[in-house]
Every structure is written in C-alpha cells, then in structure tokens.
C-alpha cells in the first residue's frame, strides 16, 4: 500500500547481529526472571497488605502522577520555547533542561535542599512567609521527582515539534483558527505520539526515582517513603517484602508502558 514499503528490506540481518540481539534480550530479561523465581507467591497477599507497602505505593503513585501533570504544565511549554522561539541564552536553557538527566540524583536532591530547604535560598523566605516546609513532606517528594523526571518530556516534545510540518498550522490559521485553536486542534494532535511517549518516560522516571527523593524529602514511612525507598529499606530487614514490592513496581510499569504503546505508538 505504502509506496515506500516496496523498498523496505525485510530480510534477516546477519546471524551475528541476531545472536547479539538475543544476548541483549536475555540480559534485560534475566533480572525479571530472577525476581519471579525468588517471589514467595504464597505469602504475596499478606506481604503486600502491609501498611508500609500500601503507604509507599500510594505516595509513589501520587507523586509520579503529580510530577507528570506538572511536567505537562511547565515542561511542555519549555519544549515550545526551545522549538519555536529564538532568544539569547537558548543553549544555556537547553543545557539546564538536560542537567537533571546527567546529574547524579543525589546531587540534584542536595541542590534542591540548598534552594528549597527550610534554610534554603527560596525555602527560607517561603517558610517565614507561609510556614510551608517542602522537605520531609509529600510536596518535597513531588518536587524531587519532578526535577529529575521532567527533562524527558521536554526533549521528546521538542523533537516532536521540530519534526511536524509547520504548514499544517499555517493552513489552520488561513481557515480562521486563532492561536489557541491551532494549538488545541492541530499542533497538539500532531505531536501526540511524542507527547504521549514523553509523558510516559517522565512518569516512569518519576515512579522509579530514588536518590533525589531520599536526599531532599527523606525516608519517612507514610509521608515521604516511596516504593523504591521502601524496597531499599526492606532489602536490609525483610527480603521477601522487598521482592514483593519490586514485583509490584515491575507490574505497574509494564502495564503503563503496554497501555501507552497500544494507544499511541500505533502497533498495527
């Protein structure tokens, strides 16, 4: 049907490539298999019904979804600034966006503490004015995971904006659409695949965040202890609980990725 498809080479790649590919798949699958083998299936229900686990799961879900929403609200606009405007210091902004990906999360968390901690540059005045303390609260968790995870949606959406044909937006304008209408009815739908995968990556990164959360928000069960932190603690004390929680994280992540894949990454 597609004229281009006629030239697609669908022959098998060289045997060495295929063998290395299989090795790669095994490498990725092995830890999951190990997890499944060590899972205490019969005790799974009681292990997961524990307060520590339920609290951590709730905090992780709330924080990762909040981080995704915040990234949509302020990260996607960064992508528009980078892709659609010219300003001085643009390369600096782009470096800033990439920094949380490159930086060790612990360093990110420490930096957040210096800025937003109770005695931080912004956190101090904030506390004096409102009495709000970000560290050691769910808000601190949200700030930490957003800081680390937001870059993913920015770079994905920026790439999406650059790859779409801008003439569609011009066509929409000529048909009487104002800027918001063009954005809502043309631009966003056209970048939807990038937007969806960017948000999925952001969510996944936020869900699995460890270092920045620990440094900035602490590890208080029921307040700031996320799943990864709970797993880390449980590894020292209750290995079976750690395995059960790990299994939950694998299941939730896989479910989200598969759902998004079917919906947006058009597997025909």
């Amino acid at each position: 049907m597609n004229r281009r498809q006629r030239w697609n080479r669908t022959e098998r790649p060289p045997i060495v490539i295929m063998a290395l590919g299989v090795v790669g798949v095994m490498f990725l699958a092995l830890p999951i298999i190990g997890l499944l083998i060590r899972t205490p299936w019969s005790d799974l229900g009681s292990l997961l019904a524990d307060d520590v686990v339920l609290d951590a799961l709730q905090i992780s879900l709330v924080a990762s979804v909040a981080a995704t929403l915040i990234s949509f609200c302020i990260g996607v606009p960064i992508a528009f600034l980078l892709a659609r405007t010219d300003f001085r210091g643009k390369s600096l902004v782009r470096a800033l966006v990439l920094l949380p990906i490159v930086l060790p999360p612990v360093v990110g968390g420490a930096a957040l503490l210096f800025a937003l901690g109770r005695r931080g540059v912004v956190g101090g005045p904030l506390y004096d004015a409102t009495g709000i303390v970000l560290p050691f609260s769910i808000w601190g968790v949200i700030v930490a995971v957003t800081f680390v995870a937001m870059p993913f949606v920015v770079i994905t959406v920026e790439a999406g904006l650059r790859s779409i044909d801008g003439r569609y937006e011009g066509a929409a304008e000529s048909l009487g659409a104002g800027r918001w209408t063009v954005l809502r009815r043309v631009t966003i739908p056209l970048i939807m695949p990038s937007l969806a995968s960017g948000l999925a990556l952001t969510w996944a990164r936020a869900f699995g965040e460890f270092g920045a959360t620990l440094t900035f928000a602490g590890n208080v069960q029921g307040r700031t202890q996320t799943m990864p932190l709970a797993v880390f603690v449980a590894l020292e004390s209750n290995r079976n609980a750690a395995i059960a929680m790990s299994l939950v994280m694998v299941a939730v992540s896989l479910a989200v990725l598969v759902l998004l894949r079917d919906r947006w990454w058009g597997v025909s």
Binding site: Y168, A171, S174, L175, G178, V186, L190
Partner: protein, 357 residues
C-alpha cells in the same frame, strides 16, 4: 470592479537569491493563473497573500478591505483574511476525518455545530465525498484528497480563493477528472480566484488570464492566447509558448476544426486537448519524405525573432507556431507569404482527455 476583487502589490526580500516583486489584480468572478517554474517565488506569493509571511513593502486589498499595507502599518492576520486556500500537497489534517477537515474552517470561526454540519454536508454531497465522510486523509486516493482540499477551502465562502498547484500530486488519469471538477467550480465561483501552477496546460485551461512569474518578477501577463502565440521571453516561450488545440479524438485521430491530427496512441477518445511544442514542428520548402504522418501544406503568416531562434506562425488549415533556428529560417528563406510544408511527428503530440467518457 476593482473594489470587488483582489489588488496586490507585493515586495518580499528573500535572504538568499532573488526577491519577489509582483503586482496583480483579479476581478471578481475571474481567475488568474500564475505560471512559473520551481523557485520562481510562487510559494512566497501565496504565503504573502494569505498573511503567513509578512511582506516587506506593498499593499494587499481584497473586496475593498485593506489586508496589509506596509506604509500604513496595516496587517490583518491570516485567520481574519477570509482567503480560502487549497494548499500544495493538500495539507489535510492527518488526524481528522474528511468531515472534520472540511468543517474545520467553519468550527474555527465559531459557527454552531449544526450549521457547520449542514454546510459541510452540502459540499461533501456536491463533490461526491459523502461516502468518505468518516475516513482519514491517509485512506483517500489522490483525487479524493484533492476534492476534500477543495471543499475545505471553499466551505467558508472565502472572498478570495487560492489554488496552489491543485493538480500537482495527481497521476495523469485522475488529473483530467480533477481538472474538470476545479474548472466547473471556478465557473460557478463569483469571487476572484488565483491558480498557482508550473503546468502550462493547467494554466491555460483554468485561468482567464495568465501571469508568468520568473525569478520573482512578472515577465508577462495576458490571456492564454497572448502568451501562447507571443511569448515575451525565452523562458515564457519554453514554458508556455505551446501550440494548443481542442479537438475530438477517435481511433487514433484528433479532429481539430475539421483537420485531422494523428495521435501517438489510440488510448484516448472524446474531447481532448492537444499540445505540442513549437520546436516539434518542422518546416520544409518541399514535401518531406519519410515518416511524419502529420504533414500538410500552408503559408507563413509572420515571423518573430526570439534570441537565436525564430517563431514562425503559419496560416490555415491549422494555424500554429513553429520554432526554428534563425540560421535555418534564413536558409529556408522563410518570409511571410511563402508556401511551406509543415510536419509534426505523432509522438511529439501530448493528447489529454478533457473529460473521462
């Protein structure tokens, strides 16, 4: 009249190469075809008229309303210009159905859902798109997509219609159909219309007047006959200085006003347009021997030099233009009134059906 139509004077400086400096007028109800090669500035002209790229100097007035005037600092944004554009490559929104594509302009300007739906239905019916209403652009054939693009451009009752390479992406068989659809529409459309094309046949068939754009400047404008018979530049002669006849084809022969032209193939019948380049016409002082079946005797009406070549107009039975080198014009002693034999190889004739039988 001028108040009703389009009056534009546009200067755009482009960063690389030449700029655009064009003045055009289109009366209501008439169609101007802008003919030019790739890179002549056609897209720049469309973008400037629509308001998608600002002009550096000039004025655009449509239906008595100033859309842009660099002296007075007037700039009406594209959304408020009321210009319907059938864009090059269609540019149908890939994520919207045929129906939503057509209704887009109506919905954007705040027309109620019900009104938009009924106006969309009228156009889908008129252009035979009703059965395709729920399809996505990717599921349409070239001809269908082209009709959707036309419907989307005209459903809002634009004050100016711009068709940018409307038949550009179509294959030969679909083209005749599509061209007829557009020609019929243009006949019924009572605003000014602008057709942008690089195809002389398209320009001749769709435009009431033709303007040739070369390197950002209008090199010639006039009726199709003016340009065909009397091209003012080397370029216009190559691009548009074609012999063009309407006729009726049957059994490999085209009847043009009682004169028979042999076609290269038997695959077309009915009303056709025959075009061939003046260079394809050979002139002889004595009856030529050999293959050309399209051979007849005539006299020379007039001769016009054009650079290294001369354009020779012949008289009845089929008045046409031949292009010969000045040298052979001299050696054949071609002057008005002289009797010559004309010959054209059948393979040089481009025969296109006007309508599909």
């Amino acid at each position: 009249m001028k108040n009703e139509g389009l009056s534009a004077d546009i200067k755009v400086a482009r960063s690389e190469g030449f700029g655009l400096d064009v003045a055009i007028e289109i009366a209501s109800g008439s169609t101007l075809a802008v003919l030019g090669p790739n890179g002549a500035g056609k897209s720049t002209l469309v973008a400037a008229l629509v308001g998608l790229s600002p002009i550096d100097e000039g004025r655009v007035e449509l239906g008595g309303v100033v859309l842009e005037d660099t002296d007075q600092g007037v700039f009406v944004p594209p959304a408020q210009r009321g210009i319907g554009v059938m864009f090059q490559d269609g540019l149908l929104f890939p994520h919207l159905s045929v129906r939503d594509n057509i209704a887009f302009g109506l919905r954007s300007t705040g027309i109620s859902k019900g009104d938009a739906a009924s106006r969309t239905d009228v156009w889908m019916d008129r252009l035979g798109l009703t059965d395709l209403a729920e399809r996505r652009p990717a599921e349409l054939s070239g001809g269908e997509a082209q009709r959707v693009a036309l419907a989307r451009a005209v459903v809002t009752d634009p004050r100016l219609l711009i068709l940018d390479e409307p038949l550009g992406s179509l294959d030969v068989t679909t083209k005749a159909h599509a061209r007829r659809t557009i020609a019929e529409f243009l006949n019924s459309y009572n605003g000014p219309a602008l057709v942008i094309t690089h195809d002389p046949t398209e320009a001749f068939l769709l435009g009431d007047e033709i303007c040739i754009l070369e390197e950002g400047l209008v090199s010639q404008s006039g009726t199709a006959a003016d340009i065909r018979l009397n091209p003012q530049s080397r370029y216009a002669a190559d691009l548009a200085g074609m012999n063009l006849f309407e006729g009726t084809a049957a059994d490999g022969v085209v009847d043009v006003d009682g004169h028979d032209l042999y076609m290269p193939a038997h695959d077309v019948s009915g009303k056709v347009i025959v075009t061939f380049h003046p260079r394809a016409v050979a002139l002889h002082r004595v009856k030529p021997e050999g293959s050309p079946r399209n051979t007849w005797k005539t006299t020379i009406a007039h001769i016009e030099p054009l650079g290294d070549t001369a354009r020779v107009a012949t008289s009845s039975p089929l008045a046409l233009i031949a292009e010969v080198t000045t040298e052979s014009a001299r050696s054949l002693e071609l002057v008005p009134g002289v009797a010559v034999w004309v010959s054209i190889k059948a393979t040089e004739l481009d025969v296109q059906a006007v309508s599909v039988q």
